[in-house]
Subunit: 498 residues, 2 copies
């Protein structure tokens, strides 16, 4: 069981120390932090400092102490607003994932996912079951950051019940500061013990991957000294050891059995007549379903991957056609921009998630990690090997949030690809779709096939399944994808309350 | 006076035409649009299609018709949510400016700044005076986009009062569609004539720079044909004529008289003792003011420009120190990233604006346009010459929103710079702050001085003034900047209601 007793006792001892000595220590630590900045930038080390703690514990002041000697170009402070559950249209980790720093920068979170989880749970905004899922998601999120080379320092600024009462009373006395005390804060003050138990429980449950560091908030300088020391030491260690690359690991996900690509029968086809009739019927059905999706606020995420020239674009357009454009987005995923490459690889997908009730169609996805990034050596071997599980975790977080997640592999054979490439080459309006890279990728067909087989095997989960769409006949492929989407959405609409 | 009568009559005639012919026309136009895509991408042409119009006029369907043959990688649809005035914490153009497309892409706005202005005005959320300011801002915004090379097609989907009543009634009949009709829509239906007058008035006032194109929404295919035709023709014209670069122009802004840099007396200084005493006093005062700013929801934008090694960073830190970190951000501005360079140059500042009640300190700013971009040839001559007025307009939009905008030129002489450069070179912890570029820039001191003098002369407005901060003595500079900030914030706090 996690407990703060020991640290409290220790810090009490320290408190008696001479204040001047404390100030000198702080100054020295700040100097070291200032000196570390250059190396942090050069080595592209991303640093997250999560400052959680009691209302009125002085989280803001502490951050101010930490940043005072850091060049403004090297850090940012984010205060994610805890949105009432009923108003939030995104997964609960969304605001925190959005805010992660890029390489070489420090991001301070002025409270974050801990407060969000604990407060919502104690307010009964979320059930015990949901709370557990969130705790799991937090552990996954933190581990993924660490494994992606992030330094993650988690501080909990602790004050006693008596101290909190005193500070809240002081804040409420002045007109200029009373607005700082929210009703939530008052409630916490009256339920101090309830919160202490839950904070400790949360730290217990989330302290195994990345440890928590309680900081005594009863004296500002003391807290500053302790936090600075932790930060400076962690940075020193990271600079010495070099950027961390997490090892692959295996977790149990409920995997669906997938066939090897070579086993897939690509002969199915439709006549023009069958196609037109079905297309019209299915699109009209999808159009109606979109209304229900919107009304029931179900987020829908459709993932398209496939061989070059397999017909992804046309397939996507047939799905998009009957949707109300104010309720869907197509997200084309190209190679990452510098500001994207400078962050954990899932960041550019976190930031593109749809609001609940909206449909997002990803034209290529996070699976680039285990295909092109693997084969072109854009990431380390451990990185893509770890990614199977990281992606399964990410997708489970999405379905836990309530999303329908469907993944399509648009499949053709090599002959068909060659025929379509040649056709593109010979048709001026289509020529732009064909690049040198497409030809190069084609040469690596066997390596890609191996990678895709492994991907399908390891990431087709019950909650976020893969579907192989036979697309030698594009008409057949479009109808098949439409049917799968409709089936899944119908099921979701039946299961959910309005 | 703007009127839709003529177009309505014309389209009535067309309506009688054979539907099959219409469909063939649409198909042909879609083919042309499909073919244009490649050139649009290659030439990096950014295209905005604004689709405004009546509730239930079929804006969404129309957009769907327009996008049906466009590759999903080439377009996006945005539906900016019209936030109730009381909840909005950003300038009213903010959501629209955020969404502008990058070069080579098309962005469809599913209603936008017109609806936002007209509805808020008719709801009496904003005064007549504010409405006028917004109309002016819209004209400025649209012109700036056009002058920055954007194609801007503005459509108004028109239906008659009778038609609207019919459609709204139909939507309300089904459980699956009734939620689509908002109270606002009902109100519009009952006040059709009031809205028609105001729509026409708005189009009249904003149709001179970029014309409005009314589209008859009574028949879906007809609207699609007309809109497609307009879009295809505009793209053709732009592809033929090449990317437009707007000409510089002169507008009257209430300019403050600024001294030439060469005239500035750089001798003022403070003793350590004076400095420490003042610093403590002023910082404590600023700390208190920050509470008021926060409570009164006043946005504060502090702009820092200055010579390399003038002491911007240290000056900023002295301002930031007493602020609550959850209420301010320092935005370091480096050279633009690719996704920033691919958009109108003010975009990366629009997207960094603070929420109301927050302080944003820009460490370098949009003035890069008339300094480094001018001198290094990163933009055309017309671009930077036009920028003085564009920037004045942008800043007036910020102060119209309620922001306090203060701009500091941190000033030193050449000898002091050399001394500080040498000092940095000889101090290992500071060496990272000095780059080759700093030395190169130093060689161009005279050209920079000329550019800066021109900038100070042309952009120091009453609402967003420049202050030259003598920084040969950094202590003096810090105290001066603090005093200016405090004075301005005190004034703002006195003037504003809570």
């Amino acid at each position: 069981m996690f407990t703060m007793k020991k640290e409290e006792k220790e810090s009490k001892k320290v408190e008696k120390e001479n204040t001047d000595q404390l100030k000198a220590e702080i100054k020295a630590l700040r100097g070291r932090l200032m000196a570390q900045q250059q190396a942090v930038r050069e080595k592209g080390l991303p640093i997250i400092v999560l400052v959680e703690g009691w209302a009125a514990a002085g989280k803001g002041s502490l951050i101010n102490e930490l940043i005072s000697e850091i060049d403004p170009r090297n850090y940012n402070v984010t205060s994610p607003v805890i949105t009432p559950e009923a108003e939030s249209r995104y997964p609960f980790l969304y605001p925190y994932a959005r805010a992660i720093p890029e390489n070489g920068k420090i991001m301070f979170y002025d409270s974050g996912w801990m407060e969000d989880c604990v407060r919502k749970y104690l307010h009964r905004d979320i059930t015990k079951e949901e709370y557990k899922k969130r705790v799991r998601a937090v552990n996954e999120f933190e581990r993924q950051l660490r494994d992606g080379g992030y330094i993650l320092l988690k501080l909990f600024v602790d004050i006693s019940e008596k101290e909190q009462r005193k500070r809240i009373a002081a804040l409420r006395e002045s007109f200029e500061t009373e607005w700082r005390v929210s009703l939530d804060d008052m409630w916490q003050m009256h339920e101090y013990k309830l919160f202490r138990d839950e904070y400790e429980n949360f730290m217990d449950k989330t302290g195994k991957v990345i440890p928590w560091h309680p900081v005594d908030g009863s004296k500002r300088t003391l807290a500053a000294r302790d936090a600075l020391k932790l930060l400076v030491e962690q940075i020193d260690r990271a600079l010495e050891e070099g950027r961390y690359v997490g090892k692959p690991f295996k977790e149990n996900f409920p995997l669906l059995k997938m066939p090897k690509l070579a086993e897939v029968d690509l002969s199915p086809s439709l006549t023009d007549e069958e196609y037109k009739k079905e297309l019209k019927k299915l699109q009209s059905h999808l159009h109606e379903l979109h209304n229900v999706i919107y009304r029931k606020k179900i987020p829908v995420i459709l993932c398209y991957e496939g061989w070059d020239a397999a017909g992804k674009g046309g397939n996507i357009r047939r799905i998009a056609r009957p949707l109300d454009p104010r309720g869907f987005d197509v997200m084309p995923i190209a190679s990452p921009e510098p500001h994207e490459k400078n962050r954990q690889y899932l960041w550019r997908f976190w930031t593109r998630l749809p609001r609940s009730g909206h449909v997002c169609i990803f034209d290529r996805t996070w699976y680039g990690r285990v295909m092109v990034e693997r084969l072109e050596g854009f990431c380390a071997e451990d990185d893509w090997k770890r990614a199977y599980n990281e992606i399964n975790e990410f997708e489970r977080q999405l379905t836990d949030w309530g999303a329908v997640v469907l993944k399509f592999w648009i499949h053709i054979d090599q002959d068909t690809q060659l025929q379509r490439f040649t056709d593109r080459q010979n048709t001026p309006e289509k020529a732009w779709k064909l690049t040198e890279e497409d030809w190069r990728n084609r040469e690596k067909w066997p390596q890609y096939e191996e990678a895709i087989d492994e991907m399908l095997e390891k990431t087709s989960t019950e909650n976020a399944p893969w579907f192989i769409i036979e697309s030698n006949d594009k008409k057949y492929a479009r109808i098949k994808a439409l049917r799968i989407v409709i089936d899944a959405l119908e099921k979701a609409c039946e299961e959910r309350l309005a």
